[in-house]
Structures are given as structure tokens and as C-alpha cells.
């Protein structure tokens, strides 16, 4: 054993103590509270998505003539295919939910304030990259709803002034959905967007490590207690436990509510009731409430406000002298999102 260790030590000149020193970091005590560990949850789920995604890609064939049949093969014939596909589907749902919850935690604790504006920006990019990955992934199934969802989605892009037409043509590989569209979605979903997520997550974590985690002290914490604990192994254990719980939850969801397969896409008939995945309900309801340009410009404005919120918040606090103004705005925002989502979920049209 020691010979192996010394053989390795000669070639990789770093000791266990040095490695610990490099990766270890004092973690503020509030991270012992579970809702502060939400940032690690989407990262863990992302790894699950990569693993199941690679397995699904073994059988998936991204052309209009073969896509639906290959998904049916995965679901009905490949051993445990239904399980892996269901884990992938529920992993996406939980990943988006976790990203949104993490963002809400950051928002309501004001953790985006100076000097953390840049990381808020990176986080927003991660949110939209994650949503886009969900959108392109759902389109790959090539069932009725995913086909028409992709058509509507690309036409929304088309309405953006100046660059819209180019964006739509680049996304679809032509003026409309065609034979070459699915392979584009597949490349985006399985290569480009995951690579972007890896790069963004690395930046996100690097900035957290550079700045340190925001520090809180809760009222029920005794005075004089050390304000931090060790990342390694204490916080790592927390994350490992979260990972195990997530795996159990994913398996339970995949078994109890496996991913279904709707009717095959028919470019000639839009179904009577068309709905996107739940995380786009807000945008879909918004599109029904306003006409094209107004809906699009207002959505663009809301996204702009979300991205630049740290600066808007600083300006609002200066002018209104209300420390907690972001909390009120946040409560209105969260209830609007929940309200519009429920409305779309319940309304038949």
C-alpha cells in the first residue's frame, strides 16, 4: 500500500493535508439550515441529468421519422428504459424547481447585494440556460404537445425586434419546423447547453469561493459560538445526505408517476388543448393575456428587471429609504408567478 502511495506521491506531488487545505473552507453556521443548501441541489440533479441523458442518447434518434419511435422503444422495450427516462424527466422538473427555490432564497435574504451583483447575473444566466435546456429536451420527444410547443416557442423568438427572425431560423434550421430541426434541438440539448451550464456553474462557484458565503446570525444562536464550521467533511456530509434523499425522491416519483408518451406529432393538426411544461405556464398565460408585441416587450422588460435587480434594489433603497423594499416586491412577484401558473393549470384554454 505504501509503495503505491509513494509511487503516486512521486508523480502527483501533493499530500492529503495540502489537498484538504486547498478545498477546505470555513462555512458560515447558517448553512447548517437545510434551505441554505439549495444551491447544491440543482448541481447534484445536473449530474443525474448528465448520467441519465447519456444513457437515453444511446437509443434516441433525432429525426422526425424516427424520434417518436425511438422514445417509444426506450419507454416500452429497452430494459429499465422507462425508469431512466422517468428519472430524466423528474430530474428536470426538480432541477428547475430547485433553481427557482435557490434564487428565491438568495432574493429574500438580499444575498445578491453589493458586492455580489455579478454572481446574481451568472445565476440568472443559469436559470435561463436551465429553462432552455428543459424546452429543447421536451421538444425531442416529438409528441403532439412537444411539437406544437416548439413551434410556438420558435415563433415567440421570431417576434423579437431585429434579431428575432435570425434567432428563429438558427433554432429551427429554416423558416419553419423541418427535417433538420430535431437534430439542432438535440445538439443544443445534449452538448451546447450542458457545456454552457458547466461553465456557468464553475464561474458561479468560483465567485462564491472568492467572496465567501454571505454571513448571517440568527437570533436563536448563542453568543460566542464559533460562526463557521468546516466545509470538509461537515458540509460535504450535508450535501451527500441531500443527494441520497433526492435519489430516493426521484426513484419514487419515476416509479409512481412514470414519464408518459402522448400521441405522435402531427404537423397538420394542432391539438384542441395545448399546454407547455409547467415551468412555462407563466409565460403561456401571459401570451394569452396580451397581444404579441405587448406580451413580448413586457416579458422582455420583466427579464431585464430580474437581471438588473441588484442595481434597481440599491436605487430603490436609496430613494425610498425602505431597507426591506425588495421583500415587498418579491412577495408580489412570487404570488403573481404562482397565480398565473395556477390559472394556466386550471383553465381549459
Amino acid at each position: 500500500m505504501s509503495r503505491v502511495a509513494s509511487w503516486l506521491g512521486e508523480r502527483l506531488p501533493i499530500s492529503g493535508a495540502e489537498l484538504r487545505e486547498l478545498t477546505n473552507e470555513p462555512v458560515p453556521n447558517h448553512l447548517k439550515r437545510w434551505w441554505f443548501a439549495l444551491g447544491g441541489t440543482p448541481a447534484y440533479l445536473f449530474v443525474v441529468q448528465i448520467a441519465t441523458g447519456i444513457l437515453l442518447a444511446v437509443y434516441y434518434q433525432p429525426t422526425p421519422r424516427t424520434a417518436y419511435e425511438s422514445v417509444r422503444y426506450i419507454t416500452d422495450q429497452a430494459a429499465y428504459g422507462w425508469y431512466l427516462r422517468s428519472i430524466h424527466k423528474w430530474g428536470a422538473t426538480l432541477m428547475i424547481a430547485a433553481v427557482v427555490l435557490h434564487q428565491m432564497r438568495v432574493f429574500f435574504t438580499g444575498a445578491y447585494r453589493k458586492p455580489r451583483e455579478i454572481n446574481w447575473f451568472v445565476g440568472m444566466l443559469l436559470l435561463f440556460t436551465t429553462l432552455l435546456t428543459g424546452f429543447t429536451g421536451y421538444s425531442l420527444v416529438y409528441e403532439q404537445l412537444s411539437y406544437w410547443g416548439a413551434t410556438v416557442g420558435s415563433n415567440i423568438a421570431d417576434q423579437v425586434p431585429f434579431v428575432g427572425k435570425l434567432a428563429k431560423e438558427m433554432l429551427l434550421g429554416g423558416a419553419a419546423y423541418n427535417d433538420r430541426t430535431l437534430s439542432r434541438f438535440f445538439v443544443l440539448h445534449a452538448a451546447v447547453l450542458p457545456a454552457a451550464i458547466v461553465a456557468l456553474v464553475a464561474t458561479h462557484i468560483a465567485i462564491v469561493r472568492l467572496q465567501g458565503v454571505t454571513e448571517f446570525r440568527f437570533r436563536d444562536e448563542p453568543e460566542g459560538k464559533p460562526a463557521t464550521f468546516q466545509f470538509f467533511p461537515d458540509h460535504l456530509y450535508t450535501e451527500l445526505i441531500i443527494g441520497l434523499i433526492l435519489m430516493v425522491v426521484l426513484s419514487a416519483l419515476a416509479t409512481a408517476l412514470p414519464a408518459a408518451l402522448g400521441p405522435k406529432a402531427d404537423p397538420l393538426a394542432t391539438p384542441e388543448v395545448i399546454k407547455p411544461e409547467w415551468y412555462f405556464y407563466v409565460a403561456f398565460r401571459w401570451l394569452k393575456l396580451f397581444s404579441g408585441t405587448v406580451a413580448l416587450l413586457s416579458m422582455g422588460f420583466i427579464v431585464f428587471v430580474m437581471f438588473t435587480w441588484p442595481f434597481i434594489d440599491a436605487w430603490l433603497r436609496r430613494t425610498t429609504r425602505l431597507e426591506e423594499v425588495s421583500v415587498y416586491v418579491g412577495i408580489v412577484g412570487v404570488f403573481s408567478i404562482i397565480g398565473l401558473t395556477l390559472w394556466e393549470a386550471i383553465a381549459p384554454h
Binding site: 422526425p64 406544437w148 413551434t151 410556438v152 420558435s154 415563433n155 415567440i156 431560423e169 438558427m170 429551427l172 434550421g173 429554416g174 423558416a175 419553419a176 423541418n178 427535417d179 433538420r180 404537423p267 397538420l268 393538426a269 394542432t270 391539438p271 384542441e272 388543448v273 395545448i274 401570451l287 394569452k288 396580451f290 397581444s291 404579441g292 408585441t293 406580451a295 384554454h349
Partner: protein
Amino acid sequence: MAAEDRDERQPGVGRRSFLSRATSLLMAGGLTAGYGAFAAIAARYLYPARPDPKGWLFVTDVGGMKVGESLTFRTPGGALAAVARQRDTGAASDFVALSSNCPHLGCQVHWQAAENRFFCPCHGGAFDPSGKATAGPPFEAGQALPRYPLKIEKGLLFIEAPLDQTAGGAGLVG
């Protein structure tokens, strides 16, 4: 030392720093041009090739269609067009060929005979028989169903549509 560097009596130093700066610039220019050219090629490769060509396709015999009658035509790309005759002068303007693509976000409209309208299930857009929007987002935006160009040659009605084949053969439906 810094003062000596700029001394004109030491031409070698001035030349050396000039050459060093020039090579740096050349290097940066070469890298930008090289990778820039690659990026431009990649972008052009990703941009879809030439727009799909269009052509004139036979629909029906003009004499066989009376005023008020309509039929559904499928283009080679799979899009549906509702062709109707509205007048009886013998000109191509007697006919309209409405696209079934909703101008709002591209869903397929379908004819609802009971309500005498085309209806889009995606966001509730509705259109009268002439294609004008009467409800929903397309109405608010003042849109109408797109029309295909039509022409008559030797008593036969032709429609101009994209020729790209993705959804089987073109022709009349039903």
C-alpha cells in the same frame, strides 16, 4: 535605465522594443483573423442554406368550383390551405387561398362550421371566412390569415407554395 532605453544613441534598444511590439500585434492580429475566420465559417455553416424554392402547383379546374364552394389543399411541405371561390368573373381574384398557419404564433387553425369561423386552439384566435381576425391575440394585433398567390392558366387554378418535401405528397385533402 529607463532613460537610457529611449536614448537615440542606442538605436538597437528602440528597434528591439519596436520589433517586439510589432510581433505582438502581428501575433494578436493573426490569432484574431484565424479564429475569427473559423467562427465566421461556423456561423455560416449553422445558418440554414438558401430559402426553400417556390413553385406553381395545380389545384383544380376553375369550371368545377362554384361560388361559395371551398376545398383544402396540402402543400409539399405539409401546410394546409383553404381555397374558396368568392366571385364568378373568371379571374384569379375570384378565389382566395388562406394559409392555416395562425399569424400569431404559427399553430394550425381549423374550420368550425357551427361558428362560421377558423379557430386557433393555442391562444384562442378566431378568423372570419375571409381570413380577417375577429377575436384573440391576432385580432388585437390587427392580423389576418396569410394568403397564397393564385393564378389561372387555360381554365386551371394554380397555387404558389414552397416545394420542400417533408410531409408526403401535395394535393387536395378529403
